[in-house]
Subunit: 396 residues, 2 copies
């Protein structure tokens, strides 16, 4: 049986590159950039006053000197200086006129009037050239790369794209995904289950993970463990870029998925990896279609989605992988066996931030994962975690 890292490597070496499409900026939140974004001009585009106050020239500055002034420059306008004009009132965001290199904020100014002439003086002992001015191009130069392809568009990136006037943006096209949940014991959620039946939650789990990447599955189907129906549905499912199955991959006599996949010409890349939960996972491909056969327990599907499906999607989108953190463990934990174990954990902060496990009854526990911030990893070669040990943590 291959290890977790071998399984992940096999999945990541089957990455597919999806094409891009151009969409309206409004629709891009959560999508992945399909193009490098460069600046359309310098930012700031002009020497911008960072304060409400007075603009003048630093060589001209003397503490307590009286400067007559008569003009006021709001943001959104520009001004050429008049001959011998020594100071103007200026607003935050306005362009500092050529010939000035200093803004003194209004709180440091004393305003007076003499014979109808407005005047201002300042008590500051020292000033520096370009004080309170954001210089043209100091943030970004024209044509500079500001956002590389492969970045997921969150608040800051969305805001930056708006600043740059990118009302149309190239983003990675969502792959076509089909989801099939299997199992005779599983019924659709709007149906009343018999005492020995359960409802289909796995297609919801998978749909939810896909929605993090703004992928809407093309189809979501439940099929009982009957060869003919399952074969038909899997055949249809193989028309997608990614086919995700849950259930039917284990050791039972009703676990038909692996044999049907092989019969339909899907190449097996691995079956089983030494992890818990999720050990029976089946992974394969047929031409451009990638097939994830996940085990049927709800927490196995959550785990396989986070540790295998998401890394595959991110690499296929040209994204960097989700980070993993190393945080001190708040208690102790033991395990038997040599599997890499994943368990739900929460971040708790007192003097520092600790990783705290959440109780659950194994991969079939429908509550597993709730109230958690992500998955902690119990490495295969350890049998004990001590309080304070640095433990790897995968945030959801």
């Amino acid at each position: 049986m291959i290890s977790f890292s071998e399984a992940l490597d096999k999945i990541l070496s089957e990455v597919r590159i999806y094409p891009s499409e151009i969409i309206s900026l409004d629709q891009t939140l959560g999508r992945v950039l399909g193009e490098d974004i460069t600046a359309d001009r310098d930012y700031p585009p002009f020497h911008r006053s960072a304060m409400d106050g007075f603009a003048l020239h630093s060589y001209d500055y003397t503490p307590n000197q009286i400067y007559p002034y008569h003009r006021e420059l709001p943001a959104g306008m520009s001004m050429d200086l008049e001959p011998n004009e020594k100071a103007i009132r200026i607003m935050t965001g306005a362009p500092v006129p050529d010939g000035f290199d200093l803004v003194i904020k209004i709180e440091d100014a004393t305003l007076t009037e003499f014979n109808g002439q407005k005047q201002v003086s300042f008590s500051l002992k020292e000033v520096k050239p370009w004080q309170n001015i954001a210089k043209q191009g100091e943030d970004v130069k024209n044509n500079q790369l500001v956002l590389p392809k492969g970045i997921q568009i969150g608040t800051s990136e969305f805001s930056l794209l708006a600043s740059l006037g990118k009302d149309k943006v190239s983003v990675v096209k969502a792959p076509k995904v089909h989801i099939i949940s299997t199992g005779n014991e599983v019924v659709p959620i709007h149906q009343s289950p018999l005492p020995f039946q359960i409802r289909d939650s796995n297609s919801y789990t998978i749909t939810s993970i896909l929605s993090k990447y703004k992928i809407q599955p093309e189809s979501v189907t439940h099929v009982p463990d009957r060869d003919k129906e399952l074969t038909e549905q899997i055949q249809k499912g193989l028309e997608a870029d990614i086919l995700i199955l849950s259930g039917g991959v284990s050791m039972g006599s009703m676990d038909l998925v692996p044999s049907i996949l092989l019969r339909l010409g899907v190449e097996l890349l691995f079956h089983k990896t030494s992890i818990k939960p999720g050990k029976p996972i089946w992974f394969g491909k047929r031409k451009n279609t990638i097939v994830f056969g996940m085990p049927g327990n709800p927490f196995s599907v959550q785990t396989c989605s986070r540790i295998f499906l998401e890394p595959f999607l991110r690499k296929s989108h040209g994204q960097s992988q989700l980070p993993s953190y190393k945080l001190p463990y708040s208690t102790t934990k033991q395990k038997k066996g040599a599997l890499t174990e994943f368990f739900p954990a929460r971040l708790e902060t007192t003097d520092k931030t600790y990783l705290t496990p959440l109780a659950f009854n194994g991969s079939g526990d429908i509550r597993a994962g709730i109230f958690s911030d992500g998955l902690a990893i119990f490495p295969s070669d350890l049998s004990q975690i001590q309080q304070g040990d640095m433990i790897e943590f995968l945030p959801w």
Copy 2:
């Protein structure tokens, strides 16, 4: 000027409770539960076999004894034992028949046949009652509270609601939000700015934060700093539950927002708080309408949204607040002045996870925030952060 925590307290004491609405489960991702969710039956609903293997009774177990068997129980069906039936083949997910209390996995079984009679034996020295069985109700008891009101629905909660058959769910109704960005220097993003103009990114920032809570603003408007237009638009905006303005709240002569708000009968709750960026923020109310007047710089809007708007929304939704973490700082940092400073930071992991600042040129820098994982807090009473100091961090 009031402190950050005083400002936050004032905002949180003005919380509004929004009503609930019933929506289809498919639409609930990211929404906040408006009802307590209890279990509709025990989970597991029956004594569920956790393995593919054989079911028998533990008092009947002897190592290497031969058990004849003739029946197989897949998941999704149930069986009553026949008289003298000592073992059945059972699949993962199937209900263990009454009268049995043990499942031995197929890997530990030796299958033979004698005179056409199927038989099985096991070499395991010891077995325990209920081994490899998830007992009825061990995860959740019928009627037990499983998800409290106020929880945001993520992957695990979505999956759990499906398991419970909640195809209609009560969620907190989104408040009605109007967004107005102000500033003569600001133009809509599809318009070409003049050299001394910039594009409106703030309404995108605010829209993006609202989308984390699945709130679609009712209107998004840009208004120049002209009293008549601004008054008209603010008057309309005050029909919302929440009016969010950006720009026009500082010390400039064009900063018309505070005076217009007062003239329209909005009660000022505070103006300015000792933070950086975001110091000029204006906060008030008129009847049920809450007004956030945020400063105009892009990073100020990001910060005010994270530290003031989100806490307000979460409390109004009955949610717990976003966590803050305490993580070791990777370098050193100084500041002058007694403001509470917020700066973009990234989590970086080597032997453990550190907080690393990201360079930026102040609140007007359009790049501020990109590549960051959240905001680090430089406390007001400190002038220096040392490497290794535990620093508070607000994840986005």
